[in-house]
Amino acid sequence: MPSGALLFQSVILGLLLGGLYALLAAGLTLYFGIMRVVMIAHSAFLILAAYLAWWSHTELGIDPLLSMLVTVPLFFGCGVLLQRLLLARLRPVTLTMMSVLLTFAIAVVIEGLLGYVFSGTQRRIQLGYGSASLELFGARIAVVKLIAFGLAGVALAALYLVMKKTTFGWALRATIQHRDAAKLVGIDTDRVAGFGFGLGLATAAIGGTALSLDTTIYPSLHWHWIGPLMAIIVVGGLGSVPGAAAAAMVLGLAQSLLQIELGTTWAQTVFYLALFLTLAVRPQGFFGGRLAQRF
């Protein structure tokens, strides 16, 4: 039986990890909601953003957080272009399946380019505050993890406000709920879909920067992330941002706690077990809406 201190420490680590998962899964579920697109390249963009943060820190000497001033607008633009130029051209009937192939190709291209430019060597940002931590009832919270968690929280809150409080957000949600009806009330759904895609990719820029603060990155790391993220959005309910966030927190916590008994290798299986269980028992997900049934 693990000690109380270890349990408490693991709960904290799990929550911090869950926050990062939540942000990353939010973008992924958004794409599916807007366009029924399965975006395999989401985590590749995530790693790309992490590399850009690392590069700007090592080469230009600026804090990785500042790199977001460039990467967030850049990724937003990329997302819009990606949707308008590539994904919008796929035939609606086979969109979901073909988008897997298309974004798979994009992921491989990004991975290849990262390997070509930065080599396969593992990289890590060396920050002055990299090993600093705060104490909380005997447990330790690393400053970098807290910053990453904070970034995720702020980004998710911003995303929530955009979706709920702005006209663009209403249009986006209308497009997610019923594209044809949205068109009928005069929403330019193509434009909205493009911006929505950009928004999703912008979350990858923030997530990648948060990720780069405290882990090692290498070009093929995105394969390590896409599986858990896919599992999270299915468990949360495809297309539901709050659902993805909730599922991310639960699964992140579960992974962290299972590592105590099972070790690193087996704890990762929690995502896939949750995926199987969800598909078997509640295919529409535990938090989300009707979209999954149509998937």
């Binding site: 693991s10 680590l13 990890l17 890590r124 090993s131 690393a142 970098v144 882990t215 070790g263 690193t264």
Partner: protein, 405 residues
Amino acid sequence: MTIRKATWATAVGATLALVLGACGGDEPEETTNDGPIVVGISLPLTGDFSEPGKGVQRGYEAWAKITNDNGGLLGRQVELKILDDQSNADRVVADYEQLIGSDQVDIVVGPFSTRLVVPAARVAQEYGMLFVEPAGAAKEVFEQGFKNLFYAAPAVANDHYNHLAEYLLALPAGQKPTSVAYAAMDDPFAQGTAYGLKEKLEAGGVKTVVDEVYPPNTTDFSSIAAKIATSKADMLVGGSQYQDGVNLIVALQQLNYQPKLAAFSTAPTSPEFAAAIGNKTEGILSPTGYTQQAPYPSNKEFVEKYTAQFGSPPEEDEANAYTTGQVVAAAITAAGCAEQGDCQKKLIDWVRANKVETVVGPLSWDETGKPQGAHMIQQWVGGEIQIVLPADAKETDLVYPKPAW
């Protein structure tokens, strides 16, 4: 019918060619005694292992040059014949067949990378050739029953920490660490180093409180670190390569875990290590097979002349190749011969029975060809990594318990 005739003609022709070829091969062999000693090697000069492969090549080249500058062996010059196996295990067999069979080299030495050593050694064994190799540290290499193979390095992975184990077990009861946490990458080399020490410490009554294995490419070490930190183990042993060791240390620093002793394989000897963990390196231990500072007599000459030849000091790959050359040279000098045939048996018997002084210290082998030594133990003391064990090679005293990181 014509086909059969043609086949016959080809066969006869080929046989004739072989006979002639063999005769042709014989003639220079009579004069080899004043010609150069040709050393055949297959190395991965292109492909996945080209980086270390080229390092090994430089080591062999430095050995040939230094030997020749000192007058050669038995009054003959040393000449290297290096083939490129393109990091491909299938090619390595063909390469050694060619070197021994058709090129008629006098001596063969080993290729790079453990998995190429076994097939190459098998070819050498068929021809009864001595096979000294710079890169076969895995257990399997010594389980094949080779009678001709010798690994030219101080120790296999499991023996890397022997000096440290001896030191710790000899400490008085009050000071001896009582609990140890182990975290090792799921990799035969990295795990071998940590588990070699674990076996010895457990046999000496030191308790294992954490024993974690993580997959290669793990990037998040916070859970493993949490387990180690809450166990409050006196000592931490990491079976690491490079980045995993750094990540684990940073994760442990974040949890403010302060062991009395911390040892990691490979990572601490890397030039980027200090910066990677925020320069909090003081007291971290690492076993090492080779350092430029090692006080062995031939090492000084090696470092100096190697640096003059290549412009930068040698690393471990280069040193292992050089060591291989030194072992072969010692055998040739003692046996007084260097050619295929009966001479090889003399060379093998000599290496088996003797101790050779090399740049990594004195080496001797058991009947499987496994080296009988242990790695030196280095420690970060005063901002640089220095040899602390064994006593006869140390640059400074071991610091125990280690300062906080």
